[in-house]
Symmetry: C2
């Protein structure tokens, strides 16, 4: 069944994707499989995230940015585990809007991020769907044997940290939907942040060295902290005043009546792809030095305590969070 | 965003999928990633196939059979490489028809085939889509280091073999669409064959020991042989009289005027998930003994010759094949 605009599976794979393939392990995308040698002393870390048009990206988003978002949401999972990515498998479920030009743009987006993150295509599948386009990637990385950082290692007394800023993912979605009125520059930057998030791969080594438990912020900061709390069997306390905000988020907050409600919205919005993690207090110095070296913002949000769940404070008072984060059904 | 019928991502993962997870490497599906130890002396073989409602399965197909088909089309790729499967990552793109009952059925189908094939769930993602449901799996297997059977090893003089029967995948699709009139029993068996194909995992060891080049029959026997011919830089000659047919395929052929056209249709229909492979003539004895031991039909279809492409003969005459197989755009 030839695809729309003559963009058949064969051409898509051999003209657009084969140049992106790992020279050895991808077998030129001609063998249905990838074959990966074992790497003694290392564990293989695998994650698989999917994105759907109308749910995780917008129908108007250019396909080069969709390809980059697909890679980046998966890279973010590996970064939070302290893993170094090297390759991925890809499934493209093309919708009728994905003609040859759109597929070329998609492949171009993959190529740009392959170079940026040092990864190559290992294999996958391309199919047509009458419905909205969707894509999934299985991202692979290495971590020294037994060292992958889980969600289970947080201990009472640990500090709670976050990289970067929180809330711009959600604000970017609002901007892309035309629901925000900010200055043009900020508007464009937020949309770009939503479309092409920045996974913190450069911080993976520091996570590996210093974090006790870690996750990436995809569902929402509070929801992802809840996952860490539940997995580690501890409680977490954070202060909303410490939430790291961008200038755009500050401007948005100042334009609204209820500052606390704004902070809650940003802390539950999701799609940030920062790393939220816990570490022993003795690790803070190393972490800050490494973050400074990378020009990466690093914020202390609170502490790990005995108990369970996430307690959120603002101005010293406990804030009741009704919906901790976003889940994709 | 809660899914339809209250079937949210959290419940789907933790109530339905977590019981299917690999006890160690899957991390209880609570960590966004799978972590796999290296296995010295072995290569990891990975494949990733996607299936879409209305394209690879029918809107009326029960979801337990859809889950099994998803695993089996991926298992088939590994079997053709001589690899032994052990686990998979899964992406479910649920459509509005996938309420809790359908998701339960899907998980049940996974569970049945996990036991049959000795595999476990390692991780993945579950998302909602307003469009047709689709699913992809990344299947993982082991093969002794350097031994994965590729498409590139066919040499002039090799025999061309196929396991099982060819054409029942396509006939099954016609039956499922109500386009065939055969006896009730045959009708039901063909539909079942289309819905739940039988990947030849039990023959993977024989492929590993004896095949020079190998592929599974997904696009269509002739198309998949063309891939082997192109990758190996040789030509292939097959005789349509040798095409292994089921009793149902024989009955269908007898009901039609043009026997040759029927054979061509069966050899190009695809969705068979048998293994088509080449081997040195000296390997035939081992292969037949192993196939007999497994009660698996093994047919010699032709020979590898110098030249290129696939030459198809019937009654000694060359048959021109206009469309070698099915491609999913």
């Amino acid at each position: 069944m030839p695809g729309p605009g003559g963009a058949g599976e064969f051409d898509t794979i051999h003209r657009l994707f084969a140049p992106l393939a790992h020279p050895e392990w991808g077998r030129g995308l001609r063998d249905d499989v990838a074959v990966l040698p074992s790497r003694p002393g290392y564990d293989l870390v695998l994650t698989k995230d999917a994105i759907v048009e109308g749910v995780h990206f917008l129908p108007g988003d250019p396909l080069d940015s969709v390809a980059r978002k697909l890679l980046r949401v998966n890279l973010s999972d590996l970064a939070a585990k302290g893993a170094t990515p090297f390759g991925y498998l890809l499934a493209c479920h093309w919708s009728p809007r994905c003609g040859w030009g759109e597929r070329e743009a998609f492949a171009q987006g993959l190529g740009v991020d392959q170079k940026l993150f040092g990864i190559s295509l290992l294999g996958g599948d391309t199919v047509s769907t009458p419905g909205p386009a969707s894509f999934s990637a299985t991202m692979l990385g290495w971590v020294p044997k037994g060292r992958a950082v889980s969600r289970t290692g947080a201990a009472v007394g640990d500090f709670v940290f976050s990289t970067g800023v929180i809330g711009d993912g959600w604000l970017g979605l609002q901007a892309a939907k035309g629901l925000l009125s900010l200055g043009d520059d900020r508007h464009a930057a937020l949309i770009e942040h939503y479309r092409v998030p920045s996974p913190r791969c450069e911080f993976a080594e520091a996570i590996l060295q210093s974090a006790s438990a870690s996750a990436d912020v995809s569902d929402g900061l509070i929801a992802d902290l809840q996952h860490i709390a539940a997995a580690s069997g501890i409680g977490v306390e954070i202060d909303l005043e410490r939430l790291p905000l961008s200038a755009a988020a500050h401007a948005w907050q100042e334009s609204r009546a209820d500052a606390e409600a704004c902070l809650v919205r940003l802390a539950t919005g999701g799609d940030d792809y920062e790393i939220v993690f816990t570490a022993r207090p003795a690790q803070e110095k190393n972490l800050r030095r490494e973050a400074e070296h990378l020009h990466l913002r690093l914020s202390t949000l609170g502490r790990v305590v005995s108990g369970q769940g996430v307690t959120v404070r603002h101005g010293g008072r406990v804030v009741v969070i009704e919906k901790a984060g976003w889940t994709h059904g």
